[in-house]
Structures are given as structure tokens and as C-alpha cells.
Symmetry: C2
């Protein structure tokens, strides 16, 4: 292999970051084959150097709490810190310095996607974030590339695994809604503050990103008609059961108007579905998205929407795709 290694800087070393670091080591030869050049992890930025890390011994020396120099010397920067700042500033700095960037940060993309894309275009670098939307379900690439010659008319799906776990538990075991939320929390399906999941905020960020990708429209979080599942009562679930239906939290986006100048509606809300509806059959933390397009018809994608290793798979997919496109002499 004659191409020089690609210098990869990793920002963040939580569950997903540690999985990405480990897989870069474990699959180094496979990834070099796929990318056409070695992928060299040049450093891992953490907030607190003394915290415990789930890293192979040979990577422990890569930790740093000073991102600036690392970002400036990287060919690709992977951002897995979460939050808006300093993630936003670091990605802008990376792109202005000529680096491609990969992120799994859905709130950052939902809120600052326009700014980040403008800087990526200006500097001719890549900005990819498959992992930001339903992790290992490859829906962004399908929307952006596979259906690039088609007219997407709607996108809908179960895009939050935590709430689906809760709803599925109530529907299938008959525990109360309150018990199901408690169990999901105990199993780590819900954050300590479960508001983002239960109120549909996480799902709203994902459907915003999907809509922007599908139609290139400037929709934002405030455009989403949003109802979470926290207002559901046990009576709602009993009623659903009585009519042979199930309740699912569905995020949806649909186009009206012309393909080139679309108007887009966005919603996240609990929906009653018949038992044989494809979404009704999504169990536990599973995710599923249906894309409708004028020529392709209905394309359905189903998979793991969360998890450290699953999210890392999507991050590495973006990384290899960017490495392949990057001129070897850069």
C-alpha cells in the first residue's frame, strides 16, 4: 500500500468513541484495504484525562485534553462529544483547515447543519453524519444517494428506540406505562433525564435532519408538530388493545407542492396502528424507516437505531467513504 496514512482525530471517548477507537485498532488492515490507505488514529480528545477509559493499552497514550493542535493536523475529524459547543467550533475549525468531518451529533446537525454545510462547501471538504440518525440503519445515505434521481414524497418511521421499548413492553406484557418507563430506565434504554426521548425531542431532531437531506429545505426543530408519549395513560393502551391495535411513536415528514420547491410538514406523535402494519411489528429498541418516492415506490429499512458498536459501524462507514474520495496526495 503506497498511499500515505490518513490522520484521524477522534473527539470524544464515551460509549461510541471508545467503540470507534477499538474498531480502528481491531480492523486496521481490513479498513486500510477498504479505504485504499491506512487509517491512522492520531489522537483522542477527552474532557478529563484521568477518567476511566475502555481502550486498548496501545491507545491510552493517544488521549489529550487539548483538541486544537490535533484538529489542525488531521485529515479527518470524527466528533462524538455531543452537545453544541465546543463540538461546533472544533468542526468548523477542522473544515476550515481542510479536514473532512464525521459526526454522530444529531442536535448539532439539526440546529447548525446549514452553517456546517456552507463551510464544508466553501472549503471543498466532506461532512457526513449517518450515525446521527438511527445509528446503523443506513437511511441518510439511501435518501441522499440511492434516491438522488427520484422524488421523495414522504419519510416516516420509528426513530427512537427508547420509547419503542417502552411502548412495546406495555403492548406485549401488559405492565403499566409507569412500570415500563421504570424498567427502560433501569436497563439503560432511557437517559437519567428521559425528557428527550419521552417528549419526542430526539425523534424531532432526526426527522428534521431527514427532511433537510431529502428536500434541501430549511426546516428546523420548531417546525415539528410534536407530541411525546409522556401524556399517554393506561386507558389509551387498554383501548388500543381492545381494538387489536398498538401505539407507536411515529416521526414523519411529507412533501406538498412541487418537487423543486417543496413545502414540507413535520410531525412526531403517538399513532394507533393495526397489528399487521409493518411499524406495529417493530420490537423492543428496533428502528424502522419507510421512504416513499415517485419512481422507486416504498423502500423500508429496519435495524438497530442505537448502541455504541452499532453507531460506531455507521461512523466507520462514513469514514471509509470519505477516505476513498479523498485524493491520496492531499
Amino acid at each position: 500500500m503506497s498511499a500515505p496514512p490518513l490522520r484521524v482525530a477522534l473527539l470524544g471517548c464515551g460509549t461510541v468513541g471508545a467503540a470507534v477507537a477499538r474498531l480502528l485498532a481491531e480492523r486496521s488492515e481490513l479498513l486500510a484495504d477498504r479505504a485504499g490507505r491506512p487509517l491512522h488514529l492520531s489522537g483522542i480528545v477527552v474532557r478529563n484525562l484521568s477518567g476511566p477509559r475502555d481502550l486498548p493499552a496501545e491507545q491510552a497514550g493517544l488521549l489529550t485534553d487539548e483538541p486544537g493542535a490535533l484538529v489542525d493536523g488531521a485529515d479527518v475529524v470524527i466528533e462524538l462529544m455531543g452537545g453544541i459547543e465546543p463540538a461546533r467550533e472544533l468542526l468548523l475549525r477542522a473544515m476550515r483547515g481542510g479536514a473532512d468531518v464525521v459526526t454522530a451529533n444529531k442536535q448539532l446537525i439539526a440546529r447548525h447543519g446549514d452553517e456546517l454545510h456552507a463551510v464544508a462547501r466553501e472549503h471543498g471538504v466532506g461532512l457526513d453524519y449517518e450515525a446521527a440518525v438511527v445509528a446503523a440503519v443506513p437511511v441518510l445515505r439511501v435518501v441522499r444517494e440511492s434516491l438522488a434521481g427520484d422524488e421523495i414524497t414522504s419519510i416516516s418511521g420509528i426513530v427512537n428506540g427508547s420509547t419503542n421499548y417502552v411502548l412495546d413492553l406495555v403492548a406485549r406484557t401488559g405492565v403499566t406505562f409507569e412500570e415500563a418507563v421504570a424498567k427502560a430506565g433501569a436497563l439503560g434504554y432511557l437517559e437519567a433525564d428521559p425528557t428527550e426521548d419521552l417528549e419526542g425531542i430526539d425523534a424531532a431532531a432526526k426527522i428534521v435532519i431527514l427532511a433537510r437531506t431529502a428536500w434541501g429545505v430549511g426546516v428546523g426543530f420548531d417546525d415539528v408538530h410534536r407530541t411525546g408519549i409522556s401524556g399517554l395513560t393506561d386507558a389509551d393502551f387498554e383501548q388500543a388493545r381492545g381494538t387489536g391495535q398498538v401505539i407507536k411513536l411515529i416521526a414523519s415528514a411529507w412533501r406538498s407542492g412541487q418537487a423543486r420547491h417543496p413545502r414540507v410538514e413535520l410531525a412526531v406523535r403517538p399513532v394507533l396502528l393495526a397489528q399487521d402494519h409493518p411499524f406495529a411489528q417493530i420490537r423492543e429498541g428496533g428502528n424502522a424507516v419507510v421512504i416513499e418516492a415517485t419512481s422507486a415506490g416504498r423502500v423500508r429499512i429496519h435495524g438497530a437505531g442505537a448502541g455504541g458498536e452499532e453507531t460506531a459501524s455507521a461512523v466507520l462507514g462514513d469514514l471509509v467513504a470519505l477516505a476513498r474520495r479523498r485524493p491520496a496526495q492531499a
Copy 2:
């Protein structure tokens, strides 16, 4: 828009070719937006100039039966003629002349994929064929790009809509196998010579292409353990029904050995599945593929595996993706 138009040559004007030509006209502005430059259809090669064509009036003048000059002057050549020759020679000529190529020709890729890829690499051009494998189900791009950082361990699915139509009809309506084949033929689901579908030859070509894409291995058509559905009897269907199962024609590929030096097994055969198996629920001409990967887990994709417009969607997706990557000054 300042970039010069991309000159697109179309080889073949059957059902898929005519749909591609029509969509290039109908969506010209949308496609130009997406590709970053206009896509200019410079000619359509047909064998017989006097045959009837389902083309818009303004495209009738683009028909020619002399492919050579058209191919030599194109930036992208789309091959939808089918068959091995002259498709193979024309694509080799196009790539040697610096053109990217898109094809939906699964037999050509299954048999001559190595040669075509070698020439594409040598000349630094793109060679894409999403439409060759289950039409509008975007499985090749998911395998090649979304899962480029992962280790795929198996791929399986219902990849032939004609046989699924027959099997579904028998399972759900109780008609005999012979009647179902006759009905599928009458509805155009089967070719005049249905051998390619019924004997699993079409499915075998698709699983070969999927395996080569997933693992980069030199497997060919003869490596597929292949049993079609023509040997099934009404007694087989009665037995399945009696045990609450359904028969589906499943194509599968699975890896053994190491990720970098895999051994790959390939099979196409009728399989008995429980009613609640995801593949058991694929109706009529539907297609579905499940990809298992070490990190991503199970990714399932479902959609239309055939049809002129559906296949054209995949062709146009490849075309736009290639146009985006092509330097504007080329």
C-alpha cells in the same frame, strides 16, 4: 449553474431505457440541482430504428443504431441493452475513453465484473450498477458504503419477484403451482422463457454480485448451490400449509474464515419459513434483503425489486452520484 452539462449516452430503449429517458426529461431541473450540473441526454442507441418507442417527441430525434461515436463523446454511458455483447464491448470502450458507466445488466456484472472493474480502476472512472440487483432496493450501496467499516457475515433475501409472486399466490389463494405459474406469466411477471426465474438463475446472479461486493471475493455463478422452484409439487405446498409455514425462494451468502481472507458459501433454494419470519411476509413481487454485520447487527431492506420505473430510479441514483463526484472541468 455554471458547470457544463454532463453528456449522457443511453444504450437500450426497452422498458427501463424508455423510463430513464423520460425521467431525464421530466426531472431535468431537479436532476441538475442534485448533480450540480445539467444532465444532457446526447443519444439513445437502439437495435432497430423503426421499432415503436415510448418516448417524448423531443427525444425521438436522439435515436441511433450506431453506438460508437455516441459512446466516444459521452461523459457517462448508461447501459440498459441486456445480454453480454455488445454491452460488454461498449462499456469497455466507454471506460477506456474516460467515461463513467452505469448498468442494470446483472448477467454482465456477474460474469465479467472483474474485467470491467479492472478497466474502471485503470482509467479512474466510475462503474456502478445498483439497478442490477433488486432494482429500487438500495442494497448494493448499503453493502459497499454504509457498511464499509463493518464486517458483513451474511446476506440473504428474496431477490426474485417473479418466483415470489408465484409462491405467494399458491400460499395465500390455494391455487395449484401450475395455475400460479400460468397466472404470473399472463400478468407479465415471468418471461416468455421462465427458466431464468423458476430455476433460480436470476437469483444466483444477484447473490453472486452481492457477495463480490461484500467480500471482494472472486466467486462466480458456478459457485452457487442452486435449486429453483420448478421441482416443487402441490404436496410440498400442502405440507407447508399444514405446519403453518410458507415456502420462499431464498438466496443467501455467508462468510467463514477471517474477515480479510474470507471463504464464502452461496446458495439459492426453496426454504420453509414460519409465518412470522420477516421473509414469510413478503407479498407478491416484493423483494427483501437482510444483511448481518458484526457491529451493525441486522439491517433489513425491503422494496420493489423490479419494474421499469423502479429500476430507472436506481439507474438515476447512480447517475447523479457519479455526476457529483466527477470534476466539473472534465
